[in-house]
């Protein structure tokens, strides 16, 4: 089989893994080698689905010995199979990298023969890249659950980031859809990786030892295949950040690729808006210092489809507002809808040389359309501002949500009334537009 045919099969098999970042590590190019890494990450292209392409994302093989019902690669599925030779894929990676198509390699694999053998093949490939080509670009490898600890350790020393996908957000869902796996078989390797990362950081203080996955660990959770609420998913990801020191938790709207009685029908649409809201919340937790418990609770376990989680929080905490931009602390500025990380920093800078007014805020990049309801400039609000629930809500809604609202609810909407159209209705309208 030609390399291009293998590439087609093994890229198609890898595309549902959403993680495609090259972030978290800075490394200069070494003489005699090829490649560097930049901690902000670099997007090289954007696919037709609007997602960024950073890494050559492929499986080493899709010939799997397992039979997980939700997986396209399961043994009993009748599909074309292919396996890269380690050297073949190393060469392809270098050729793509040289042309600046990619930032590096995202390597995963179905289980060939057994977990140890699979892991050994991956190591062989990465050793060719790192040692023969002296490749300094980014490498992300998926840990193969069930592989020997020493092999996982070896793999980690060759990579920048490692990941183990949780996929299903609860033990019950795992039991239902992936009877071969259990919580321990996933969390075990995750704990092992996080322990290795911690030890490697410790060692780094004393000598320039090779580092274990210096860009940290990530995971992926499928959203919408099983009945967990946003609250459960958010709590799970918060716990993962805390307990295993994960760098990123990715969410993937479930795409029905397999027909099964325990799975949503093949005709169901992926819950893209829900995925989007979860990412927004994830962002708030990682950069805006929000806690999961502030964003959702048992009474309100799902995100509002119309307004983003930050606006939602502000609306239910109107007593904390308005804040004066000339005196409010950075942490509070971050909580104002319409003020982002950059504009909050700029406000802090600019107010050192003189008081800010609304015109000045606009120049700093503050979205006054949303922010105006929550801020004062030296004690004064925007002139002629209407502070009714109706007007605030209209200010916070995106144009798209606005059109939706107008179509369904007309002028009667109220902020605190929960008689919104159902999430499913919204999804039908929004699918594919986010």
């Amino acid at each position: 089989m030609d390399t291009i045919d293998k590439l087609t099969i093994l890229a198609a098999a890898a595309k549902y893994d959403v993680a495609c970042t090259s972030s978290g590590v800075d490394r200069k190019g070494q003489k005699g080698g090829i490649g560097n890494a930049s901690s902000a990450g670099i997007c090289h292209s954007f696919a037709a689905d609007g997602r960024c392409i950073t890494l050559l994302k492929v499986l080493l093989s899709n010939s799997c010995v397992y039979d997980c019902c939700y997986c396209v690669n399961r043994r009993s599925n009748d599909i074309r199979r292919a396996t890269f030779e380690p050297r073949e894929l190393a060469e392809l990676t270098i050729q793509f990298y040289k042309r600046n198509y990619i930032e590096g390699l995202f390597l995963s694999s179905a289980v060939i023969r057994n977990p140890d053998y699979t892991c050994e093949q991956m190591i062989k490939l990465l050793e060719i890249l790192r040692n023969e080509y002296r490749f300094g670009g980014y490498i992300h490898a998926k840990a193969i659950p069930g592989a020997d600890e020493r092999l996982i350790r070896k793999l980690g020393l060759l990579t920048d980031r490692m990941s183990v996908n949780i996929e299903l957000p609860s033990q019950e869902s795992l039991k239902l859809l992936a009877p071969d796996k259990n919580k321990e078989s996933i969390l075990g390797p995750m704990a092992l990786i996080s322990q290795n990362i911690a030890e490697s950081r410790e060692l780094k203080r004393y000598k320039s030892a090779p580092q274990f996955a210096p860009a940290g660990q990530s995971t992926q959770i499928i959203v919408g295949a099983t009945p967990e609420t946003d609250y459960q998913i958010l709590n799970l990801s918060a716990a993962l950040y805390k307990k295993y020191g994960l760098k990123r938790v990715f969410f993937s709207a479930y795409m029905p690729v397999v027909e099964h009685k325990n799975l949503p029908a093949l005709t169901s649409k992926p819950p893209l808006l829900r995925e989007h809201r979860l990412y927004q919340a994830d962002w708030l937790m990682r950069f805006y210092k929000f806690n999961a418990s502030e964003l959702l609770d048992e009474k309100n376990p799902n995100f509002n489809p119309y307004v983003d989680p930050k606006c939602s929080w502000a609306l239910s905490h109107l007593d904390s507002f308005p804040v004066d931009v000339n005196t409010a602390p950075y942490e509070m500025l971050l909580r104002v809808p319409g003020i982002g990380l950059t504009s909050a920093e700029r406000i802090i800078e600019a107010r050192r040389v003189g008081p800010l007014n609304f015109d000045g805020l606009r120049k700093l990049g503050v979205a006054l359309k949303r922010a105006q309801y929550f801020i004062l400039c030296s004690g004064r609000a925007v002139e002629g501002l209407k502070m009714s629930h109706e007007s605030i809500l209209r200010g916070l809604l995106s144009d798209r949500s606005m059109r939706l609202m107008d179509g369904t609810m007309g002028e009667q909407l109220s902020l605190f009334d929960d008689t919104f159209v159902t999430r499913e209705d919204v999804l039908k309208c929004l699918t594919g537009q986010i």
């Binding site: 200069k28 003489k31 689905d49 800010l356």
Partner: protein
Amino acid sequence: MLDRPDLIYRYDGSFEGLMCCVYESFYKREMPLSIISREEAQQSLFEAREIVTDNAKAARVMKAVKEKISGEAMRLVYRAYLTDLRDREVHILRFLVLGFKCGAKVLKMLTDDRVAILYKAVTRLGNEAELLRGFVRFSDFGGGLVATIEPKNNVLPLLKHHFMSRYPGGSFIIYDKTHRLALVVYKGQSRIVQSDDFVPPSPEMDELRYRAMWKRFYNTIAVEGRENPKCRMSHMPKRYWAHLTEMQEISDSGRLAGDDKAALKSVQEKRGKIKTRAVNFDCQELV
């Protein structure tokens, strides 16, 4: 400083030349209506005063900016010079007038129009450079890499370090078609040169094969059912597509189409031609 709405400065388009315009303006205590490069001047009807580039004067201005305002201000000014901001020269001059008056705190005066306009333009420059770090597409010609870009801003000085680190000790050319400049790196030595007629060589067989594979990968990796042309367009604006391998119509089979065969024939003779004139001053330390 005297406003001179009747006065236009004409300079050679180089950064040093612009610094000499700043020198002239302060020396004569006058604010010209505009500052234009010689190239623009050819299309202009107005008389203009020729400002001769003098590296010693330029160095004096740069030293003064660093000492009396700050190094950060110098960096901002150099970057603003690289942007596509209309009348950027005069905006830079106005900023410097304010800067010499207020000192280092000028950089915090983000709501002053004279400062905000530079920051905004420089942000756009930075954003474009960041995009191009990903969107540059090299072709391999027996070890030498060649790429063409068509950016709005003059991003080459901002790309240099990244790509030199990416290919340590390597040789490559990035040609900026908009500004007719080429970043030439040969065995770890770099220069940015002017070049009006850059013709990249024709691709060889192997090169075409990898292009086809990349295009195939690109088409395969998108998840059907999630097509989102708007989102793709906002992240990867259409004006970059002309130089993106994956957005070209190429034979997907990896075999050569008719045009490619013709190209392959001429590859032996046609090598990259590049007429060069070195650009004076390398503002390496400012980037």
